[in-house]
């Protein structure tokens, strides 16, 4: 069946669709290097001044520091929680498994504004101050399902007889987990860290509701979008962010494939397992 000739219109459509998908993303570097204070066509010439301007912006630097703190904390906590849940769901049967896993995965299909509002209400009721930590709480919640999705495929592909061999040789359960299981799924763990880091770095709504006085990077960008004069700088910043996310994702994908190969799974067929 799949050998049937591909109709021309379908190929044309696929190309057109990719152009639609990439159009906004490609504009980012174009305007970042455009020598004009207004973000529109026609282009005026090449400049790197918008990138240079970023070095001199203190508010941006503290936003980057805040975002790095939030994203690093989030990726570590959500990956630890992800390891527990992914291991439990792929290896063990337990009561109310579907309900428990269902609740954990719910943030995938919940509008982020609901997560943000509900955490805000609780924090206000408890009389706690909003800070970067409240943003971390929210980000971990939405990152854990992604972490589980990545790690579950790593745990599922992995050969359980290796663990049984270790147990038979008299190594304890905990030691087996750390000596055998964890190293084997390490690539999955790295890929989970990278993905949750990227998600947290880009998340806006929860950060917008829950951050106190410290702005994260998306909150900073949001505040800049109102001023026309700041836009070329935002484009330059966006270009840098684009390059960083691409790098992280290619790394994540590479680790995922490596992990799949190590456990003998068909790499092509598990493609897209990230999502």
């Amino acid at each position: 069946m799949s050998n049937a000739r591909t109709p021309n219109w379908l190929v044309l459509y696929a190309i057109g669709y990719l152009i639609f998908l990439y159009a906004p993303v490609l504009l980012l570097p174009i305007f970042a290097f455009n020598d004009s204070a207004i973000v529109n066509f026609p282009l005026r010439g090449f400049t790197t001044q918008w990138f240079e301007g970023l070095w001199a912006t203190d508010a941006l630097h503290s936003a980057v520091r805040n975002s790095l703190f939030v994203a690093l904390t989030t990726c570590v906590i959500s990956t630890v929680l992800g390891v527990c849940a992914a291991r439990a769901s792929t290896r063990y049967q337990f009561p109310a498994k579907r309900g428990i896993m269902g609740l954990i995965m719910v943030p995938l299909v919940l509008p982020e504004i609901i997560v943000a509002v509900s955490l805000l209400v609780v924090l206000i009721q408890l009389g706690l101050d909003l800070s970067l930590w409240s943003v971390v709480l929210g980000h971990v919640l939405i990152c854990v399902p992604f972490s589980i999705a990545v790690l579950a495929s790593a745990f599922r592909n992995f050969d359980r007889s290796l663990e049984e061999a270790s147990l038979d040789l008299g190594v304890g359960r905990v030691a087996t987990f750390f000596k055998i299981t964890l190293p084997l799924v390490a690539p999955g763990i790295i890929s989970s860290l990278l993905i949750t880091f990227t998600i947290s770095l880009d998340e806006f709504i929860i950060a917008f509701f829950l951050t106190g006085t410290d702005a994260t990077l998306p909150v900073y960008i949001w505040s800049q979008l109102r001023f026309t004069a700041k836009l070329p700088g935002v484009m330059a910043l966006g270009t840098i962010l684009l390059a960083v996310s691409l790098l992280l994702l290619i790394l994540a994908e590479w680790f995922r494939r490596w992990s799949a190969k190590r456990s003998g799974a068909d790499v092509e067929s598990s493609a897209g397992g990230l999502f």
Binding site: L10, F41, L81, C84, A85, P95, S118, V122, I205, A271
Partner: protein, 301 residues
């Protein structure tokens, strides 16, 4: 998995149940589960409680009242925003799926090698800053934007088009772009799972390409379409950024009002009631779609 099997290795525990799979599984899942209880289930309950209270400036009055819901469901402005959010999310979802289906079909049936690369290419734009992607649509659709200047340069239009920015159209276009990968991936997975011999059988029995698609491929991929519908519809209804950036005043949605109630308007209980109402509506639509799919699509397991 029985206790006896689990006991084949490891040291002896005092209580057999402690080394059972049930116990280990529960113990292992409990940190993540407790986190979800504490920071998802309880906060959602708190929002429900909040929606039955009232606020007077900074004071929260904890007497039970349905006043917030009465206001949320009867004030024309809230009705308008809710209906508009549903309409925009509905149109966006249908458009996104219609645009996504041929691409998923193309990759599943007509790409022989490098399927993974195609999927990767499709998902890359999704990983760039959401705020900037939405903002760039404003640059594309604006009065002096990329689209208008290109069309003018090509001589296709004399005056810039104005119906494409600061209204619901702009919100739909932008959201259809932002959520594209979420529609493509589930449909692609469903198409990949179709047993190719069924298509051969339809062909051998004399079905032409269109009949075959209509009678075999489409029904068998409906599971993916329904998943795509839910994955796109539920979050878009609560989108805040897109209506704010490209929607103008005629494109504002319910999330913008919820945010306003929590900040400027400072009526958090009303904001909570609006959020809960929106969630209830979305959940009932999702359940309805789920049920319709079960009921009317053949071959559902």
């Amino acid at each position: 998995m029985t206790t006896a099997q689990a006991a084949s290795g490891g040291r002896a525990w005092r209580l057999p149940w402690l080394r059972s799979d049930h116990f280990t599984g529960l113990a292992l899942v409990s940190p993540t589960f407790l986190y979800a209880i504490a920071l998802l289930a309880m906060p959602l309950l708190a929002v429900v409680m909040f929606s039955f209270w009232t606020q007077d400036y900074l004071q929260i009055d904890r007497t039970f009242t349905l006043a917030n819901y009465e206001e949320a469901w009867s004030e024309p402005i809230y009705q308008l925003l809710m209906v508009r959010s549903l309409a925009i999310a509905g149109v966006t979802t249908v458009l996104t799926i219609l645009l996504a289906y041929p691409i998923a079909y193309f990759v599943a049936f007509h790409v022989q090698q490098r399927k993974a690369l195609w999927i990767f290419l499709i998902t890359i734009p999704f990983w760039t800053s959401y705020l900037l992607r939405v903002f760039l649509w404003k640059v594309i659709l604006g009065y002096n934007g990329v689209l208008n200047s290109t069309l003018e340069w090509l001589g296709l239009i004399k005056q810039p088009l104005t119906f494409i920015l600061y209204n619901a159209n702009a919100v739909v276009i932008t959201l259809a772009h932002a959520w594209a990968p979420f529609a493509i991936l589930p449909i692609y997975v469903a198409l990949e799972r179709i047993d190719r011999s069924l298509l051969e059988a339809a062909k051998d029995l004399g079905d032409g390409p269109f009949r075959r698609f209509w009678r075999v491929t489409l029904p068998l991929s409906m599971g993916g379409v329904v998943a795509a519908f839910l994955i796109v519809f539920i979050p878009t209804i609560g989108d805040y950024v897109t209506p704010r950036l490209v929607g103008g005043t005629d494109g504002l949605m319910i999330a913008n009002m919820i945010q306003a109630q929590f900040s400027k308007a400072n009526n958090k209980p009303l904001g909570a009631a609006l959020a809960i109402s929106a969630m209830l509506i979305v959940t009932s639509i999702a359940l309805l779609i789920f049920w319709l799919n079960r009921r009317f699509t053949p071959g559902q397991r």
